[in-house]
Amino acid sequence: MKRRVFLRSLAAAAAGTAAGGAAGRPVRWSRARAGRGVARRILPLDPAAVLRPARWAG
């Protein structure tokens, strides 16, 4: 399953922490932790993408 992943994401590299976890430490997905999940990865904004109109409607 998509959610059944390790939240050892680039966020750890990008921000020194994994989402919802201690700094730099891989965090295993669990049903309990999913409730606290805020993101798959927390990444820096992509300048080119920001200046492009979104592909989303609205």
């Binding site: 921000a15 409730g35 606290r36 993101a39 990444l43 820096p44 300048p47 920001v50 492009r52």
Partner: protein, 369 residues
């Protein structure tokens, strides 16, 4: 592991904001998320809370999320999971919202987080609106950084859009308040599925809204959107009465709401309730998400919709999302000459002077500066 650069920069100006080096990008945001939430407090069941934001009034047992997927009961507190964590950040033309009578021709910083209070089978943005927050990549962008980014990208306004800004209410509210302080305008692009108290609070810092009126049928709202009609009508009416510039979008879906009667009902309600100067956008449907069995809306249908809207007495009726000749042109209601002509999302011809028709000086309703 190597840390990526913390300021990507753009033109050497440090335009784009990166998560703070060495820190938890969500630390401050998480504190805020716990501070500002719409909650009815502890419900009858031990440890449960009721989210009073939208008409669903979800009762959340400990550890459970609401129907919108982004509001959860964590440790007995209702928490907005996506506060400060947008999954989409883009500079769009304001015409894309669509807003045709609000600062035309200007760029607008547009942000969204995951989640929505409705579950429309035809949602065009279902990949983010119907996603769990932990399934998406996001940026850490607290309200103050949203404002800074809008300024640096030269946007006079900020749109809370793509998904449902009323679902990530606290983020929308805080960013809007900061934007107001900075002299920026705020725009909601919303389905209007919200309870009255939070809407009243948000309207204080909202300048304009494009609100979907998907159907004039409660049955279709239930069957297609998993919602109800009455709260949406109330939200539209209330927004207008609270001084928000309101434009309404009606998505025209073949076989569901493309009959003359259905199209007329929308236009008639708008004219009677909001007034004839309220812009109405009839929008073309494209097969999406869980409604791939219906065809796209033909241009002829939208042409017919526009004629019906005008015949009902509305002064500004548009046809969009499908190419319809003059479908996106603002005509002067007095002399009928084109005041603002648009091609896709670009204003290509402008005959507007201080909010009045450049041909006959008739006043055109809108927010023009």
């Amino acid at each position: 592991m190597a840390r990526p650069p913390t300021g990507l920069g753009c033109g050497g100006g440090g335009l784009f904001l990166a998560p703070p080096a060495g820190g938890d990008p969500g630390a401050g945001s998480r504190a805020s998320r716990r501070r500002r939430v719409y909650t009815g407090g502890v419900s009858a069941a031990a440890g449960s809370v009721v989210c009073e934001l939208c008409p669903r009034m979800c009762e959340l047992a400990p550890g459970r999320r609401g129907d919108c997927r982004i509001r959860a009961n964590l440790d007995g507190k209702l928490t907005a999971l996506t506060y400060g964590l947008p999954c989409s950040v883009h500079v769009d033309p304001v015409e894309k919202k669509p807003l045709f009578h609000f600062l035309p021709g200007t760029p607008i910083l547009s942000i969204a987080t995951a989640g929505c209070t409705l579950h429309c089978r035809n949602c065009q943005n279902w990949e983010i609106s119907q996603a769990n927050p932990e399934d998406l990549d996001v940026a850490a962008l607290p309200p103050e950084d949203v404002v800074a980014l809008a300024r640096r990208t030269g946007c006079p306004s900020i749109a809370y859009t793509y998904t449902e800004p009323l679902a990530y209410f606290e983020y929308t509210l805080d960013a809007s308040a900061r934007a107001r302080e900075a002299g920026l305008r705020n725009v909601l692009v919303t389905a209007g599925y919200i309870n009255e108290p939070p809407l009243r609070e948000l309207a204080r810092v909202t300048d304009a809204a494009n609100i979907d009126l998907k159907f004039m049928s409660d049955r279709l709202y239930r069957e297609v959107c998993d919602g109800t009609l009455a709260p949406v009508l109330k939200a539209i009416e209330l927004s207008k009465s609270l001084g928000v510039w309101v434009e309404v979008t009606n998505l025209v879906i073949p076989t569901l709401n493309d009959s003359d009667d259905a199209l007329r009902d929308v236009a008639r309600w708008i004219r009677r309730t909001l007034g004839p100067d309220t812009p109405l956008h009839y929008s073309g449907f494209h097969p999406q998400h869980r409604m791939r069995n219906l065809p796209p809306t033909p241009a002829d249908t939208l042409r017919r919709a526009r004629q019906i809207g005008l015949a009902e007495g509305l002064r500004h009726v548009y046809a969009g999302n499908v190419t319809v000749e003059d479908g996106e042109t603002t005509h002067c209601p007095a002399c009928r000459k084109p005041v603002l002509r648009r091609v896709r999302f670009e204003v290509v011809e402008r005959h507007l002077a201080g909010g009045a028709c450049g041909w006959c000086a008739e006043s055109i309703a809108g927010v023009w500066k």
